[in-house]
Amino acid sequence: MPPDPTIALHLIQQVAKQDRDAFSQLYDRFSTLVFTLAMRMLKARSDAEDLLQEVFVQVWRQAENYSAERGSPEAWIINIARSRAIDKIRSIRRMQKSFVLTDDPARAESADNVESSAAESEARIAMNSALANLPETQRRVLELAYFGGLTQTEIAERLAEPLGTIKTRMRSGIQRLREMLGTQAA
């Protein structure tokens, strides 16, 4: 169940006034969501914990700038988390390209872990979840983009598929999610 946006909105307004109790409640409400996403994207617990802390530091600093017109509190917080996680994932790739010895097979394997973790995640997806209801080809591209931080071009290269095909799968997957969301709301 998604968190109640009305309560979260009130909490963010209180956090903007530097109310630490409200901040504590906001953390309790969203920390597991953020941490779950961080673990899925970054894999290592220590990285995910660092990210969680960074996200809530940003929430504390920027609560005053939050506007409900720009999205729900959950979307705002998750967007902060995803942006930061993607920055980290991309910096790992840049670092690996810059100075990691590419002939180290263990390392090469770890650099390629986005795809393997996409497969690993399949086992963790609840059967009644939104992802489980997507066709495999659509689910794969959405996972690589959303959790792996890959761009459309990188996904096309990784899957050796034309860019147009990847775009179509992504858009079809998103449309399907919209339909599911509509069904849930009805």
Partner: protein, 244 residues
Amino acid sequence: MRSEHERWREQGEIYALGALDGQELKEFEAHLTSGCAICEAYVREMRETLLLLHRSITPTTPSPSVKTRLFNDIASEKVVPLAAKPRSTWRRWQVITGTLAAGLVGAVLAGTLITKRYEPRHTVYTSVINLLRDPATRDFPLYGTGPTPKAVGRFLWNESGEGHIFVSNLPAAPEGKMYAVWTIAQASAPRYVGTIQTDRTGQGGLHINMPRTDQPVETFAVTLEPVGTTAAPTGPMVLVSKPA
């Protein structure tokens, strides 16, 4: 034939997913910046839809220590909200009175401080010696790279989370920039561990105390970053523990 907005909508879906890149990304961002309320609303709606994705995965609970660390930082006012409230008149009087009192106390303490002038340096030396005494401490040479090929350094590191970095031949960071120090465990994101400053001779040092992590650090790096960059390295690498 597709309408102009149909094309933007298609790009908006991929943009919300974070997967738009290249020229398409530049064009779409420029379109958003131009103030298109339709696309802005559409991206917002897509982001709400995509929340279904992370709700699909099995929840993982963070350690309670993260909340403790977060609230300690806030309590010690390391983290200050961006828009600070204006100070009231009463608050200004408090500040003035406090400043005068601090001045008096400062004068009394001045003599004591002079005698203790070298204490911080002494503490650092002691910490470094203790690090070196521990057989688990590893010693990594650092090599200059990118814009500073002549820079050199050493990184003492203990997996307890304590370390010390020494650098030489590293010119002072330009205005608005800083040298950020990172540790990198295998397949993990670089972790910011502090900022190092160098003196006129290009020498500098930094003692590091971080919480222990679950993966051993493999690589150490220093990058030149805009001041305040701590989430992830974005600038050129100036020192690294593996030769290029």
